[in-house]
Symmetry: C2
Subunit: 140 residues, 2 copies
DNA sequence: GTAAAACGTAAGGCAATCCTAACATTTTGT
DNA sequence: ACAAAATGTTAGGATTGCCTTACGTTTTAC
């Protein structure tokens, strides 16, 4: 399970691929291109690279499937994404788009330990709803 | 005061320059090289670029000074840095090194609004010390 | 089933950073 | 002041990731 490391850029691709596969059981290069706002050519390049690194199975014009290694990587980044989004929206009160945008960037750079503590904090906040409601009152 | 935007990389350089100038009234390329863990050559290149963009005054073998535009940019990134570090250490309980390391990366990607809300949250937490102490109790 | 539209790939570029190695300049120590 | 050490610059390369344009392949709609 070593060598799960991947660049931020490729992490974005694997995240989209995994999310699309979960939702629709299918993902095309054009979908990725739209989701990430990059050209079809860039997607093509990234897919070749992800295949080369063993995160997906892919060949010319063939459909995209994800490998176990890819699943691991996707699970990791999606976990980070969700945790951060939840904190940003539920605690800090950012609207969903802004929470997601920020999470998409932060998710690539945070340490394991930060995530662990944030996870604890969210659980604590959920078991003490007064925390968030009092905080929100305080900034009105 | 427009055009304050700068890449993450150069933001790191301006941050070190400003911090060194505040502390020692002086900063050399070699200091930056050590602080950022990059080669002297990379520093040389970055200084040329920062000068070109008007963030610092600098010429071959000359001493480095920061311009008003550079100060603005530095102030902004240092504010983000401190806010994030404070949250990560005082609320989440990361040790200082890990809080700083994470802040150094996150500081380049967060939105204004996130910072504003985080600022409010920190103020709220400071005026309610029980919040943090109860949270820390909860994870023991 | 075939032409048009949609989609995917290849080639060639560009910009941002980073590096090492070699060379230039400045600073230090005696 | 002058040699040695420290620091700064330049040249040449590598990587990553994005782009556009042109062309290949597949799908869609009659």
């Amino acid at each position: 399970m070593t060598d799960l490391k991947i660049t931020s850029g490729l992490e974005d691709y694997i995240e989209v691929i995994s999310n699309r596969l979960s939702k629709y059981n299918n993902v095309r290069a054009i979908d990725i291109s739209r989701d990430l706002g990059v050209s079809r050519a860039s997607v093509s390049e990234a897919l070749r690279r992800l295949n080369e690194l063993g995160y997906i199975n892919y060949g010319r014009y063939s459909s995209i499937t994800i490998t176990p290694k890819g699943e691991e990587a996707a699970k990791s980044v999606i976990f980070r994404h969700n945790l951060l989004t939840k904190f940003l929206s539920e605690v800090l009160g950012l609207d969903n788009d802004e929470a997601t945008d920020n999470a998409c960037k932060i998710e690539h750079v945070v340490s394991e330990n930060l995530l662990k503590q944030l996870d604890f904090f969210l659980k604590y906040a959920e078991s003490n709803p007064k925390l968030v409601s009092d905080f929100k009152k305080s900034i009105k």
